[in-house]
Symmetry: C2
Subunit: 478 residues, 2 copies
């Protein structure tokens, strides 16, 4: 029977439990499809609270290490048999009426376009995932800016290396280690004025003649950038675990852009098994002397509202196949254009050789301000503040929906991840009419599949939430 | 006989005289190859000083409206016969032993590479055309930053239009009108984080399959950017008037990058006649349904040390063939990444339709700071201060060279334009040895042709100039 002892150190008990179980699964100690103890009995056995076990199980589930069967309990996933789908036990297949072929046919999310254009006159924009203006730390930012403009004048006049000033790259690397468990060499980081610009650089680095692909549904902007760069651009559909690996082979994709931590817009967290499948796809390419790469867009990993953040694909990649991308555009302000990517060693060497003649696109002033902001601990505080304000916002929003006339027809999905959730509405009226009425009410909202809508609440001020739900109700019923 | 009267208004007499003569040349009143009065007699006749006439003649010469023949005097150029070369009178050809065929063979400047990489440990870098750190207006910049971080918080959180915030585009347009005589619609301006990024966008706008070209010698970076974008990239040689138009046709160029105000690195100012020839090349393309474009890089027009700035190619283009580019990287600080380009109407419409999904690459914070900096008159003051400090620096540098042992072997060319001149040294020693010894002395210097060196003095602090010349002498003699 599972027996773990907990150390009285800084990390929470649920996290220690999560790590123990994960380690046992990774080592094979806990084999595929082993049934885990129920939450209640395990809690008693370990002398911890039921909530602690629940938190650990939830985290393991969201990462795909375990799965649950209704009224049966929790089971260890078959994480090693790459190329097969979750869950792998054939009896379980039948029991749950999921099987490989049916799942591959059933792509949950329709191929709708996610609008990239935001009308600034809207009352509430549930499509925008930019930060709430009220949350920007103006006084701290002003304080740091004032200090560097007075103390660091010479430094501010020195040209930044092409990939960004070392202070900022160290700050990013330290931050990723502390809060994302990532081990990143600051020399592999490239800082730039937004992920869009990064894409232009990446295409120059990886080659114009490669086949690029993005998720559908997903950020349409990625597809537009690919097309603007005149490269072959495919769209790859998803099933409930994220992008479908077979489609990558079928469409001869060389480079795939994915959002595994939190798929935009569906909110799917890609389970560990699917992650290994995608890595395997890139590795098989490598064995065939074809360079396949995965661009991991980790755009809102800071904002997961419960549990530990999902380990990045970059962290579990041993073959230099993953390019990691993240941005401060969402966590700080969309008007400050600072993003970064992390290249594997051989690509960084190629960048230094062929593309480092490009000047860094972010001014040294803002790079240094941000470096201090992170290194002095303000970024962490800011994220915590944002996270708890998001939680409050989400709770208010859910309560308002529940208490409004929408409550009777609403189901909420993916509420634990990031800054949005999926709202399913069993509308009596035609969807088109609903969307038109919502628009008239000043509410921007988009379907991710029939009758399911993406609710991005990050940009909406707290004091507009109640009224926004009222207007949605009007659109649904009046 | 020429007779002009001067108004007692704000513009200097020499400028009024320049305008009168230019107007008469443009109207045909003064026909091609008309001899102008000598400076002395004209001065007497107009009751102005000889210096005034000299200044007006110099300005007209640098723009190609007139030419001078040794011991003969000043003549009106044949500015209208597009497709022919300066001067056009056949007798004059013989007299001066220049003729078309011989000139086309004789390309003055060798095809040397201009290094783009700067070693920051160098004592004096005559290759760098970045601004002197000491000249950055820190206190004003800090004042404006402080003000907007306190007063404009909501605005700072609003996404900038793809082509930049309207305040900055208006400020740029007003500045160009006042100081460059240009009439620019702010809606045709695109703001971006450096000209390099602009190039990536331009290639996406104009097309991947076009033939692009840059000057040789010239900015090697342009060529590298073109190659990084996998487009066909040609290099076009110069004669003493700038890029050779016939070569554009010969090499089937579609888009040519030029620096007509002040060629980098030779310092050539393209005469008006050659400008019309290049425009004609683009227009002929248009008549053949081939879109030809000229990218006019006006990178240091603010810094011409004497006379009026040369009118831009953009201003004299009536067929929407010229894309104007300029940057604050050189006039303000290379570490603040703000450049802009001005597109003709039909290209701007195409940009808005196809590429405006790109977020502006400059943060709203710095855009707004710069907009205030320009609109409140600080930029003008800054440029004036930079110009007079450049003049002092140049004078000191020239005096130091004259008074050093270099004086006996040195000739100076192109000293009136911008922030650099050409130093010709009649070295006794091998050039390679000289360059190696200079490097050992911490002096970065590059040849533009045999024994001629580009002297960029903008980045060199005043108090290093004397020592830098000492070190150069050591490299030349010891």
């Amino acid at each position: 029977m599972l027996s773990y002892s907990f150390e009285d150190n800084k990390s929470p008990i649920y996290e220690q439990l999560y790590n123990y179980i994960k380690k046992d699964i990774m080592s094979g100690e806990l084999s595929a499809n082993t049934k885990l103890p129920s939450k209640r009995s395990f809690a008693g056995q370990l002398s911890v609270s039921v909530i602690t076990v629940e938190n650990a199980y939830n985290q393991l589930m969201s990462e795909g290490f375990i799965y649950s069967l209704p009224k049966k309990g929790f089971y260890v996933s078959d994480i090693f048999s790459i190329g097969m789908s979750l869950p792998t036990d054939k009896n379980l297949y039948k029991e749950n009426k999921i099987n490989r072929s049916s799942r591959n046919e059933k792509v949950i999310y329709s191929k709708v376009s996610v609008p990239y254009y935001v009308n600034q006159n809207t009352f509430a924009d549930f499509n925008s995932n930019s930060a709430d203006p009220a949350s920007f730390p103006f006084s701290t930012w002003a304080k740091i800016t004032r200090r560097i403009l007075s103390d660091d004048q010479n430094y501010l006049m020195q040209n930044s290396p092409s990939n960004g000033i070392i202070e900022l790259r160290f700050a990013i690397s330290d931050y990723l280690e502390a809060f994302r468990g990532m081990n990143v060499n600051p020399n592999n980081i490239i800082v730039g004025a937004g992920t869009e610009i990064m894409y232009n650089i990446l295409i120059q680095l990886l080659g114009q003649s490669k086949v690029y692909a993005s998720e559908i549904p997903g950020y349409d902007k990625i597809d537009r950038i690919l097309k603007a760069n005149s490269v072959i651009s495919e769209r790859i559909p998803l099933d409930e675990y994220g992008i479908i690996p077979e489609q990558l082979t079928e469409k001869s994709v060389d480079i795939i852009h994915i959002t595994p931590s939190h798929h935009f817009p569906t909110g799917i967290t890609m389970p560990i098994k699917r992650r290994y499948e995608i890595l395997e796809w890139a590795n098989i390419g490598l064995h065939n002397f074809k360079d396949k790469y995965i661009i991991e867009d980790d755009y809102d990993s800071e904002f997961r509202l419960s549990g530990l953040p999902i380990p990045s694909l970059y962290s579990i990649d041993n073959s230099e196949r993953v390019i990691y991308m993240n941005t401060f555009t969402k966590s700080l302000a969309s008007t400050i254009r600072i993003s970064y990517m992390i290249l594997p060693d051989h690509l960084m060497a190629k960048y230094n050789e062929t593309l480092s003649f490009y000047a860094c696109t972010v001014s040294t002033f803002e790079q240094l301000t941000l470096a201090h902001f992170i290194a002095d601990g303000y970024y962490e505080k800011h994220i915590n503040r944002m996270r708890s304000s998001s939680r409050r916002k989400r709770n208010l929003l859910l309560r308002c929906i529940r208490e409004s006339s929408l409550g009777k027809i609403a189901t909420i999905n993916e509420e634990e991840s990031g800054l949005h959730f999926i709202l399913r509405l069993d509308l009596k009226r035609n969807e088109k009419t609903f969307l038109e009425k919502a628009k008239k009410q000043g509410i921007n909202i988009s379907p991710v599949s029939k009758n399911s809508y993406m609710i991005n609440y990050s940009s909406i001020p707290m004091d507009r939430i109640e009224e926004a739900v009222n207007r949605l109700s009007i659109a649904a019923f009046d």
